[in-house]
């Protein structure tokens, strides 16, 4: 080893990332490099991951600044499909608004909006088959809505009421439906990632044709489970789409705390020899096209794809959060990639397939529909007001058969409640 005395070097310093803007600052995203729509190339979906590393540093965009579809990634969807997509995104937003308010009114304990990120869930779902299995995080309610899952059922879950299929056991928004090919959402970040890979491995091992898709936030990519998923996905070439929703914030921590200062999140794929795409997450056509490309890849045994959706969390993290305490108030409005609903709307209008009046009417219709659903759901009860599941259900489903100690505990609870007259 070098036996020279310690060289005359400057002292080391610890770099602690700092976001560009804090409360009071005027946000200005000039430093965010936004590649033009249409410039990022589209390789064949069968190409080797090693031949397309640059995609991780590109930005797949279809809608240009005038919301016109351009370039090789244009999925050329029929207007009818586009309108359905628009409707699903708008419904997602209306639903979010209503449920957020319900929480504020004390009707439930918790809610999480996906405002500004609707395309990431909705457009991706449109590019998947109905029975492809989704392993989402808590911010992809758009998947269920795109699959026409009844919003009343979602609300019952949010209210933990007596019609909640999950028996009031889960925190609001932690949906689960096997029939909807939508895996039980976990409170523990990123656990769904290796699960999705395992599901995809099973599908492959069985010679099935269904693939898996999973989502997590950019902050969650820091978890060990993210790495586990990438490892198993690359080793077994699992037919899975791994979506990283880079909405710039993880509660109060900006993306720099999950490695965003050093490179893109799509670049993670490069590290594992996985195909990686970086996509304008506020461009529904780009999200659709990237997902369809990755799905094709997966279905033809070409293995996994990691997609970074570059987007922005326009609202607070959850009803427990107050973003004005840590970020500039005008970031959302200054976000250079716009709003996914507005962009698709403009696109459809540009195609002559939509207009402002229809859009306004749809907004009203959706708001009414959500309101009606809410009324319906509230008939089944709201949280903490008595119309919950029977107490005995607490002891069910821990195991397939209830072991003696749970039987005893249940009986004890019954006896105690009876004795107390409640």
């Amino acid at each position: 080893m070098s036996e020279s005395p310690r060289r005359n070097l400057p002292p080391l310093t610890l770099h602690v990332p700092e976001p560009q803007f804090r409360p009071g600052d005027e946000a200005d995203f000039v430093s965010v490099e936004v590649l033009a729509a249409g410039v990022t190339p589209r390789p064949d979906s069968a190409a080797d991951a090693g031949t397309m590393r640059e995609l991780a540093y590109g930005l797949v965009r279809v809608l240009d600044d005038d919301a016109i579809a351009v370039g090789p990634w244009d999925p050329k969807l029929a207007p009818d499909v586009l309108r359905r997509m628009l409707r699903s995104m708008a419904l997602t937003r209306a639903f979010d608004e209503r449920m957020f308010r319900a929480q504020r009114q004390g009707k439930t304990s918790f809610y999480m909006k996906s405002t500004g990120e609707e395309a990431v869930a909705v457009a991706a779902t449109f590019a998947l088959d109905r029975d492809d299995m989704c392993f989402p995080s808590y911010r992809q309610q758009g998947i269920l809505i795109a699959r026409d899952w009844p919003v009343v059922d979602m609300m019952n879950q949010i209210y933990s009421n007596r019609a909640d299929r999950l028996k009031g056991r889960q925190l609001p928004v932690m949906y689960s439906t096997k029939q909807g090919a939508f895996f039980s959402i976990s409170g523990n970040l990123a656990t769904q990632y290796p699960q999705a890979v395992g599901w995809a491995m099973a599908s492959a091992a069985k010679g099935d044709t269904r693939i898996a898709a999973t989502w997590c936030g950019e902050g969650s990519t820091a978890e060990g489970d993210f790495h586990s998923a990438c490892m198993f996905a690359t080793v077994y070439r699992a037919p899975v789409i791994m979506n990283v929703v880079n909405n710039q914030w993880a509660i109060s921590s900006f993306a720099g705390f999950s490695g965003g200062e050093a490179t893109t999140f799509a670049a993670r794929a490069v590290g594992y020899g996985i195909a990686g795409l970086r996509v304008d997450g506020n461009d529904p056509l780009a999200v659709y096209a990237a997902t369809a490309w990755a799905a094709e890849r997966a279905r033809t045994n070409k293995g996994p794809t990691l997609i970074e959706h570059f987007t922005y969390r326009a609202e607070g993290h959850s009803t427990s959060d107050d973003p004005s305490a840590y970020r500039s108030a005008d970031e959302a409005t200054k976000w250079p990639l716009g709003d996914p609903i507005a962009r698709l709307k403009t696109h459809l209008i540009g195609l002559g397939e939509w207009d402002e009046a229809r859009h306004a009417a749809q907004d009203v219709e959706l708001a009414e529909m959500v309101k009606a659903a809410q009324k319906e759901a509230e008939k089944n009860g709201i949280l903490g007001h008595g119309l919950h599941q029977p107490f005995d259900t607490m002891f069910e489903d821990v195991f397939e058969e209830m072991p003696w100690h749970l039987v005893e505990q249940r009986d004890q609870m019954r006896a105690e409640r009876a004795a107390a007259g409640i």
Binding site: T13, L14, V16, P17, E18, R22, S109, F110, S160, N161, D164, K167, G168, R169, Q170, L171, P172, M174, S186, G187, N188, L189, G219, S220, A222, E223, G224, D225, A250, I251, S252, S253, F257, S258, G259, S320, A325, Y326, L383, G384, H388, Q389, F391, T393, M394, F395, V398, H405, L406, Q409, M413, E416, R417, A419, A420, I422
Partner: protein, 337 residues
């Protein structure tokens, strides 16, 4: 001296330690600029600087893992795990590394790490914001487990933990961050400032690890509890007019066996209360110890009142929670026994 909430007391403990010892370093998710989702670290980064109080990636294994490395360097890290429910990915670094390094290195590498984490239920937090995993940590040789029940203790115990030269897991009962809780969820909550508790010195002081507190003397039955359940248990015995001795363990490991033994030998009866699931919860160890050491004094079986052996159910939280009815029933039974 000041009236502080528990969260303020915890904040103050870290503030004091940061000021006194340049090696104290605070890290965790959202704990820097924002000051933590429960505000436990509010203001500390602004006051002590970004290299001493900083946010981390969302990776609990990494948080504990880098804390181990920092301790090996000579720092005194105080990592926060945002909720105890999320500590499992960090368990290996805590159990296999931090807790063992003094032993492995025969004393060369020591691990003065204090892992803080809010735990427990009663806030409608659902399965993953309500758990009480403390028993697992008490099974790990080389780790201390500390749980305060009031602002004064919280600050004094946390300072002791940070100054301790071994790894400590410091579970904070989040239900009582802002005020004590008597178990009657349907009654209005009193903030700490409104209740009769010792004022909290603004400066440095310690509450020693390994010493329990007798929060209520009594002669008919001993109640062992910690965290939130100290208040629920105490309120219950008072409402029922039972002459119970209520002991706040404060430290689960090392346990204050002297205080426990003396009390049970005096009362001849023992009820243990915790929120955690029953099977292999810390109540099991307490029951085992009490019957081992007080066998010939016991007039009734040592009895446990605990969370049921199910995941934490969101909507049925108050049926699940070991509240006044369940504690009261157990007390009645033990007193009859």
């Amino acid at each position: 001296m000041a009236r502080m909430s528990m969260i303020e007391a915890i904040n103050s403990a870290m503030d004091v330690c940061l000021a006194r010892d340049p090696d104290v370093t605070i890290l965790g998710e959202d704990i820097g600029f924002f000051g933590g989702v429960f505000r436990a670290t509010a203001g500390l980064q602004a006051k002590h600087g970004k290299t001493r109080v900083f946010d981390t990636p969302i990776n609990e294994g990494g948080i504990i893992g880098v804390a181990v490395g920092m301790a090996a360097y000579g720092l005194r890290p105080v990592p926060e795990i945002q909720f105890a429910d999320y500590i499992y990915p960090g368990l290996d670094q805590l159990v296999s590394e931090a807790a063992r390094l003094r032993y492995r290195s025969a004393g060369e590498f020591v691990m003065p790490i204090t892992v803080r984490s809010p735990f427990g239920g009663g806030i409608f937090g659902g399965q993953t914001h309500s758990q009480s995993p403390e028993a697992m940590f008490t099974h790990v040789a080389g780790l201390k487990t500390v749980i305060p029940s009031n602002p004064y203790d919280a600050k004094g115990l946390l300072i002791s933990a940070i100054e301790d030269n071994d790894p400590v897991i410091f579970f904070e009962p989040k239900r009582i961050y802002n005020g004590p809780f008597d178990g009657h969820y349907d009654r209005p909550v009193q903030p700490w400032s409104k209740v009769e508790t010792p004022e909290v010195p603004t400066g440095h002081y310690t509450v020693p690890l390994g010493k329990a507190a007798i929060v209520r003397e009594g002669s008919d039955v001993t109640v062992l509890a910690y965290g939130t359940m100290v208040h629920v248990a105490r309120a219950t015995v008072e409402e029922k007019g039972i002459d119970a001795e209520v002991i706040d363990l404060r430290t689960l490991l090392p346990l204050d066996i002297v205080t426990i033994e003396a009390s049970v030998k005096k009362t001849g009866r023992c009820v243990i209360v915790h929120e955690a699931t029953r099977t292999s919860g810390f109540g099991a160890e307490l029951a085992a110890l009490v019957q081992e050491r007080c066998f010939y004094h016991l007039e009734a079986p040592v009895t446990r009142v605990t969370g049921f052996d199910t995941p934490y159910p969101h909507s049925l939280e108050w049926a699940y929670f070991p509240g006044p009815i369940r504690i009261g029933t157990a007390l009645d039974q033990v007193l009859k026994g």
